[in-house]
């Protein structure tokens, strides 16, 4: 069974994800915030690439029905309702709302992955839910690391490697066919096992600290805080029902 990790989003070729399940990882912070938004009861979330697109979509949907969220250079966008800190997406703020989100890397990666048969948003927050779903569907997943400004981001690679390791462990009889990215991610996951210790040493983590949002790092490192599975449905991200354990 195929198991591929794309260490940077520019590696994504449409032919490579066709018919496959793509897990998009931007753990610092877009995919973590998306998990939080939907776990907190947001009705739906639109990932969009540009600020203009976000504002236009909010107008179309009705500005009062929409929460605009996102960041540029780690900081909240002027005129938007929320930034990209996962702790902002509380039930009080987002329950029943439509969120339109634009972030530098994560939402762009999700849009690029739209050609996959299924697109799941993964983070440490919903780690086991993602693994369980990949085990249940016996999908041949592509784990897509969103990275940073087209470049490699270590935290996403480590998360991908930990998902890959959990999948291999859960399906011991499968003969895996891995790309070089998956082999590397597995090794990196062994080397950097603790996200809370890793984050401050990554470029993304340092940028978040410099922006004065250092509290986001331990938040994003919380493993299995949420048992939810955000999936792309057309242009929107919604919660998939998580299958009960047999």
């Amino acid at each position: 069974m195929k198991l591929d990790v794309l260490l940077t989003p520019t590696e994504l070729l449409p032919s490579e994800i066709s018919g496959r399940t793509v897990v998009v990882l931007d753990v610092l912070r877009a995919s973590t915030s998306i998990v939080e938004a939907l776990a907190a009861g947001a009705r739906t979330l639109y990932p969009v690439a540009t600020i203009e697109e976000a504002i236009g979509l909010a107008k179309t949907l009705g500005r009062d029905e929409v929460l605009l969220a996102g960041e540029r250079k780690a900081l909240p966008i002027e005129g938007f309702d929320l930034g990209n800190s996962p702790g902002e997406f509380t039930p009080e703020r987002v329950r029943g709302k439509t969120v339109v989100m634009s972030t530098t890397n994560g939402t762009i990666a999700i849009t690029a992955a739209a050609g996959g048969a299924r697109v799941i948003v993964g983070a440490w927050l919903n780690f086991q839910a993602v693994v369980d779903e990949l085990v249940r569907t016996q999908a041949e997943p592509v784990l897509l690391c969103a990275g940073r400004d087209r470049a490699f981001g270590l935290e996403d690679a480590v998360c991908a490697g930990q998902i890959a390791a959990a999948l291999v462990k859960a399906l011991p009889d499968v003969e895996w066919e891995m790309n070089d990215g998956a082999v590397a991610a597995l090794a990196l996951a062994e080397e950097f096992s603790d996200p809370a210790r890793l984050f401050p040493h990554t470029a993304a983590g340092r940028a978040i600290i410099e922006a004065g949002l250092g509290d986001d790092l331990p938040y994003c490192a919380q493993t299995d805080l949420r048992d939810v599975l955000p999936v792309l449905d057309g242009r929107q991200i919604v919660l998939a029902a998580v299958e009960a354990e047999p």
Copy 2:
């Protein structure tokens, strides 16, 4: 001092390499073959992207003066004089000649790196020569992994990590400022220390074996076989004088 590793060539931004020394790594096999060609006495080597460009340049330079070399899908190109197996570049074949080479990944990466202040071609074959030069010049190097068809190639990342580790060891008093790619490459170099054992497990290595050229793998794993430093000079790759030890 900055030390960056770009794990895929698509990460290269012209602004990032401006003024810096770029080491291009495509150890399976273009950079290894370039080292061999120049160590065997080739006068100069032109890396070009396309087959048409190679044939056109050979006509301009005078077809009889030129050896056309390169590969597509690991195999020699029809009508060319040499493939991309390093063992083909013997003194008998190449001494005094001009080589025009087109390979799938390596020569494209070298061309992309041309905006650097200095471009060095590195491989395990000339590992120590590359490290010595980076130590001597106290350059802030960018180690550029050529990878495979825009995607990550593990062998180049491991070579980059070993170069980075040797550099850090040789300059213990330097405070290094590394990108995420460098941190990852250092970890991968520790995990996969022996290129001869690594190669058959990489996508590039498997493709070379499938093409019937498996003998190339142990050839490319020979560390420090050559004490030469191929550098880009305009459009050509030539040997730089290796400084004598003090």
